[in-house]
């Protein structure tokens, strides 16, 4: 999987790179408009992370150029402006998703995975993790072929965990993923959802992959 990060803030693109590489992505970076244009013209990427304000030009022009040349690379806009106009015009121009800065790397990773799934498998995609099978299209999950009776949030949570397998995910990141950013403050209620999900997975005969990491959050891992 090849990802191009078009972002002028080197410290940020470094972080994204480090996180994505651990998920077995191949990352390239472009720090200005012209590098970005020439890279997108020559190569194909599974997903492009696109910042809108770039030295040398507007990120949306790169998106326009891409779609004009009939390139179907997935595009995820990462903008600091969080303005409705940018979001709307970005999606109108054919961006696949929009994420406002500052974001959680785990959220970014889950969104990239979703875009790539949509692009590559035409919308139907099955993800496996050991004996767990998740169908992102039908929104169902099975353990050893046996269907799990998950609520919508539990399914979202499971998919989020598998997308970020092996990484520590903070409670805030989980809360924002499940409920958006309105739920500031007390995050203890996430625990209830995690407890239920863990119970359902275990009842279906699965090992306990959800590890609680003291003081920081949770980790979905087989180690």
């Amino acid at each position: 999987m090849k990802v191009l990060i078009i972002e002028d803030e080197k410290a940020l693109s470094d972080s994204i790179c480090t996180y994505l590489k651990a998920q077995d992505y191949i990352c390239e970076t472009a720090a200005d408009f012209h590098t970005a244009i020439s890279k997108t013209e020559i190569f194909d990427y599974d997903c492009i992370l696109l910042d809108i304000t770039l030295p040398g030009g507007n990120g949306l022009s790169i998106l326009k150029e891409l779609r004009l040349n009939n390139k179907s690379d997935g595009v995820l806009i990462i903008s600091a402006k969080n303005s409705i106009d940018d979001k709307v015009s970005g999606l109108m121009l054919g961006a696949d998703d929009y994420l406002a800065k500052p974001f959680h790397l785990s959220e970014l990773n889950a969104r990239i995975a979703a875009i790539i799934r949509r692009k590559q498998f035409g919308g139907s995609s099955v993800i496996n993790f050991h004996n767990i099978t998740v169908d992102t299209q039908a929104k169902t999950a099975k353990v050893n072929g046996q269907s799990l009776d998950l609520t919508k949030k539990e399914f979202d949570l499971l998919l989020y965990f598998i997308s970020n397998k092996g990484r520590v995910i903070s409670k805030t990141a989980i809360a924002e993923h499940l409920w958006g950013d309105e739920m500031e403050g007390n995050l203890d209620f996430i625990y209830t959802h995690i407890k239920n999900l863990r119970k359902k997975l275990q009842e279906a005969g699965d090992a306990d992959y959800i590890k609680s990491v003291y003081g920081m959050g949770y980790k979905f891992t087989d180690q």
Partner: protein, 419 residues
């Protein structure tokens, strides 16, 4: 009071006063002049009588005309000659008439006679009456003409002013409309138009500067925040931290999240204040509330919060989509966030009124104060204290009425759409 009405009132009052005073003066001056004329005639008459007596040495025949009578009486005593006004009785017209009388004494054929010449003032009175009538007619005519001028001409004269005023009322900085002044030849209106155009240009420029400053500032703050947040997340992937180090990371994470939310909320408030969400569409409030409730359905279930919603009638409100989303989401999440386990939420939506009441810890502050920025109850010190002020700002912009009351551990928010 309208300027025109005030001006008219003054104008008309002054006109009437001046005309009344003038007609009063007229009356007295005319009366004086006419009486003077009559007296002159009477003296001429006296002279004629005297001349006649001197030539013929006897009295002339008393002449009686309609408006002049001469009477001679023989008398023993003589007196002073005098002229005075009298009231006469006209037997043919059977009415009293004003008159002027001259009395003098004359010697004729050795006897003394008292001569009385009386002249009727009827004609002069008629003249004065006619003049007063004319004056009154002029006043009435003047009023009518003034009225017509005000109605027709003034409206047209004030047209450029009204046009500018109308546009000013609709003007909002950052809006798409600019002020298009109507060309005029009137100096005052020209100056006004120049001032208005200059001012709105300055306002637009300042507004643009403020807008781009807010956005740029937010951009500049979000970028380092994004960097710190990502580095922290990478740091969290490490292993073998001591308990103290974990604690530090946890605290840094909390504060970073607070800071980024604070920045976003302030940006949202600024945008609402700058009226950047001015495009309105019909919004179905019921659907918005259901959407929010669905999102938290499992959470409500997990915390055993009882929910009763009474939203039978569709409530359609014309407002901005983004603002409506923020408004409803803030109110609903507040009711959930500040609730207690095994508590309850009551939502009633009818007749354009939304009432959300929920259980929660009793307040230590006055409920009304929670609408102010950064005001929060001590029980929820981890919240930002901006949620309700955003709600209030949205209500102010849309002219909605919102009240927050609390009775013990029950909190009630009442929102009246389109107050």
């Amino acid at each position: 009071m309208k300027l025109l009405a005030k001006y008219n009132r003054l104008n008309i009052a002054a006109t009437i006063l001046v005309l009344l005073v003038a007609s009063g003066c007229y009356y007295f001056v005319l009366t004086y002049v006419l009486i003077h004329q009559l007296d002159k005639d009477l003296r001429l008459e006296e002279q004629e009588v005297k001349d006649y007596v001197q030539q013929n040495n006897h009295l002339p025949n008393p002449a009686n005309y309609k408006d002049q009578k001469t009477v001679f009486e023989s008398t023993n005593e003589t007196g002073k000659r005098k002229i005075f006004s009298v009231t006469l009785y006209d037997s043919t017209e059977r009415e009293e008439q004003p008159g002027r009388r001259l009395v003098f004494y004359i010697n004729s054929g050795g006897a003394v006679y008292k001569a009385t010449i009386t002249k009727s003032r009827q004609e002069t009175e008629d003249l004065v009456r006619l003049i007063v009538l004319l004056t009154v007619s002029i006043v009435v005519l003047l009023l009518v003409v003034l009225f017509i001028i005000n109605r027709v001409v003034f409206r047209r004269l004030w047209q450029p002013f009204n046009n500018t005023l109308q546009q000013l009322k609709q003007y909002s900085p950052g809006g798409e409309q600019t002020i298009q002044v109507q060309p005029t030849t009137i100096t005052e209106f020209k100056e006004l138009n120049d001032a208005v155009t200059g001012m709105t240009n300055r306002v637009a420029k300042d507004y643009e500067a403020l807008k781009s400053f807010t956005e740029n500032a937010s951009h500049e703050i979000q970028t380092p925040l994004a960097v710190i947040k990502s580095k922290l997340e990478l740091l969290m992937q490490g292993e073998h931290y001591t308990e103290a180090q974990v604690h530090y990371i946890q605290q840094i994470e909390e504060e970073i999240n607070r800071l980024s939310k604070l920045n976003q909320s302030l940006l949202l408030l600024t945008k609402i204040e700058n009226q950047q969400f001015s495009v309105t569409i019909p919004i179905n409030i019921n659907a918005l509330i259901h959407q929010q409730l669905d999102k938290f359905e499992e959470l409500l279930h997990a915390r055993q919060i009882r929910l009763s919603a009474n939203m039978n009638n569709d409530c359609i409100v014309a407002m901005n989509e983004v603002m409506a989303g923020v408004l409803i989401s803030n109110l609903v999440t507040n009711a959930i966030k500040h609730n207690i386990d095994k508590g309850s939420i009551n939502i009633v939506l009818q007749n354009n009124q939304l009432i959300i009441s929920n259980t929660g810890a009793a307040l230590s502050t006055n409920p009304g104060e929670l609408f102010e920025r950064f005001k929060k109850d001590k029980a929820h010190s981890d919240s930002l204290g901006l949620g309700l002020s955003i709600v209030k700002k949205i209500c102010e912009q849309n002219h909605f009425n919102i009240h927050y009351t609390s009775e013990g551990n029950r909190h009630i928010v009442t929102l009246l759409f389109s107050a």
